[in-house]
Symmetry: C3
Subunit: 308 residues, 3 copies
């Protein structure tokens, strides 16, 4: 089964089936409790090329790789941006291809990871590019729901926030198309709705979804609330931002109107879209979700590098 | 004995007794001559969260951790400051708490390490925060004196420089309160004297100290001269800075007026507060002191992680 | 034979003989195919001090060190420049000297690596300083030619680009003086010719060379074309830059006028001085050359650290 992952590029969650994900999740289960250093990837070099900063994603790949015994090299921050100005992206990827056994790419441009995968002989993992794809985040999200509810099918979901530009939200919704959720509510201000190409994809894949303006309309019905951040910069008019902002801040009071087992997920980092009072409540699943980033990425790295 | 350190947060030198420090120093002695890679912390992840830059402290923690077989992940520089702007400090610490086994925190805000320790389940080591606390530096300073003089009690000390804002100086003076120095001279320009809360603490703890304006008044009497930097920015008036500056530059000529065994310590980095001619003299103990940062931090990491 | 390298500083390619390089190349041959992690340098700490950024050189040293089992600590980017502003270079080197077993230095100032070597007790490797010296790059270049042509003697070379300020080009030409090339053409705009001190050195060492303005004059005659970048900033007048620029861009058409076995080398990163069409042609040897950076640096690190 794990042959499905071996030496394969990981570009979009849509490239996978639920059977693939089951394999991954079973593998991740094994890593959850391991605290010792493994030698599964000893002698392998994992390159982290973060042309767009993301401390959390970078560190969790780094921890996952090191726990498996791999060595890690990184291009981050200032260095990544000065590279961006100088040599071509292709040449940078070629360099990493000849120095490492696997390349993790994060980039703000749509398609950057796919382009890297075309250039590199070694497998490429997309750690987020453009506005749609962040496959490892979607894997973590789905795995978290599996761990919390025992299944992903049959639940009612709301995805809240910036559905137009937020790649984590889009990847999560794409991920849900691999399963049979009862219903998925897509909740956002009108200007931050999913883009047409995404909507068509969801329809093609038979996802039962409905677009809403306010979370309050559906709070009582849902099992999972997936929150993402709305960036002020998305609004040309600050007044308009202030108007919608309040409706997209999740509070404990709001959650208490929902089902007792309702769980809040968030890809993190969060800024102010979830009130601090939620952090220590039974609803907050996002810190647990973040924790599962390590076993999922350990599973993925070992499967892709053929050590599964 | 080492149970005193096990899984404990290391926030202030004042949380320790001289017996604790003896335990630490004995442990450090063992690490001084070891050149091979140890496996004491194999499988452990040490997170370095340097919200304020400090290459020297960061690298010495990194070397100490790696020599013990641990893996290291880091947040530094630009990345740390962009985090500071975005997600809450608490969320960043929670992330590191779920990725690592121990968190080393450096921050310019008073109390940041303590706050981190309250949030994190894993032990937190303060690598310097605010204006008062830099406990591992004080451990190194005291250990250096122990190695140089065989004892910390009974000696006469001068602490020179910025005693108001300098956390290394304050931590060192706090550290001396755990011992019985003959006398401690606190030498600074009037505007950079120790703050009242520190003065009260020293009095409460029975330290025999005296505040002075000029090192020349006490140079003949002291065994240890602890030098710290006076930053130009502390003076609203550049003219005033230039006036005092000369009195706080340590020269070979000045030291030759002192005891033959007089030793100069400095937490480093130094800029121009010690004349280069001192570097190769018998008085300079600061490079030796820097070197002892590795065994002290190795000892601390292994004791705190229960590998002692 | 390898005693020639043991604990030795690596400052300039001119400090070596062709016999030294043969030893190095034989050693590198052994590392080319090794994919497992070695323990040759286990317990050693390699410090990378990149006061001038160079992702490629830094990463290849890092990969080389890690493949040999060493641990790596780094000063890079922003951090390196803030050090440059604060404490003295000497103190930074002293710090690294007490934390590590070998120091790799990159600096824009001429002589920085040599100065570091005078301060440090541990061996220092120059990873490029000033306008002349980048010895490990020259080693890689010569090794690449050896692998491609079987020998370095007897071939005709052209070195193209900025010969005045480019340290890779100068080091390569210096490296050729250790061999017996048939002829070396030095091709550059008049204002970017080799400096007088370099010209004298080449004459003293008996290199058969000729300076040219255009690569087209010699393209049919050469076996190896070594290309380096001409930086716009070297020209006070942008018009003048635009005038010469075109003559220093290597195209597939240009190369097709040369010998069928002609190979193009470049120390990388390249910007636009080689047309993309060359990348996938039989002429391009620069990606292969970049790849050989790892075995050469592995060989050098192990020889210098006495593990040869």
């Amino acid at each position: 089964m794990s042959a499905k992952f071996m030496f394969r590029d990981i570009i979009s969650i849509l490239d996978f089936t639920r059977e693939d994900l089951e394999t991954l999740f079973e593998f991740a289960d094994r890593f959850i409790k391991i605290n010792e250093k493994l030698e599964i990837l000893k002698g392998k070099i994992v390159a982290l090329a973060f042309f767009e900063p993301s401390t959390r994603t970078r560190l969790s790949f780094e921890v996952a790789a090191k726990k498996l015994g791999a060595d890690v090299i990184s291009i981050v921050g200032e260095e990544a941006s000065s590279i961006a100005k100088g040599e071509s992206f292709a040449d940078t990827i070629r360099m990493l291809d000849s120095y490492s056994d696997l390349i993790v790419v994060r980039h703000r441009f749509e398609g950057a990871a796919k382009y890297a995968a075309e250039i590199a002989e070694k497998p490429v993992i997309n750690a987020g590019d453009g506005r749609q794809h962040h496959p490892t985040q979607a894997m973590i999200d789905l795995y978290t729901i599996k761990k919390l509810f025992g299944e992903i099918d049959g639940l009612t979901y709301a995805v809240l926030g910036d559905l137009r530009y937020g790649r984590a939200a889009t990847s999560f919704i794409y991920g849900l198309t691999l399963y049979k959720p009862k219903k998925v509510y897509l909740v956002s201000p009108p200007q931050l709705r999913i883009r047409d190409e995404v909507r068509r994809e969801l329809i093609d894949r038979g996802l039962v979804f409905e677009e809403k303006n306010s979370i309050l309309e559906v709070i009582e019905e849902i099992d999972v609330l997936y929150v993402t951040r709305i960036q002020k910069e998305r609004f040309p008019d600050p007044v308009e931002y202030e108007k919608v902002r309040g409706s997209y801040i999740v509070t404990l009071g709001m959650l208490m109107k929902g089902k007792p087992h309702l769980k809040v997920l968030h890809p993190l980092p969060k800024v102010d879209e979830i009130d601090y009072s939620v952090d220590n409540s039974k609803y907050a699943a996002y810190f647990y979700q973040a924790k599962l980033g390590i076993p999922i990425r350990m599973a993925l790295l070992s499967l892709v590098l053929g050590a599964g």
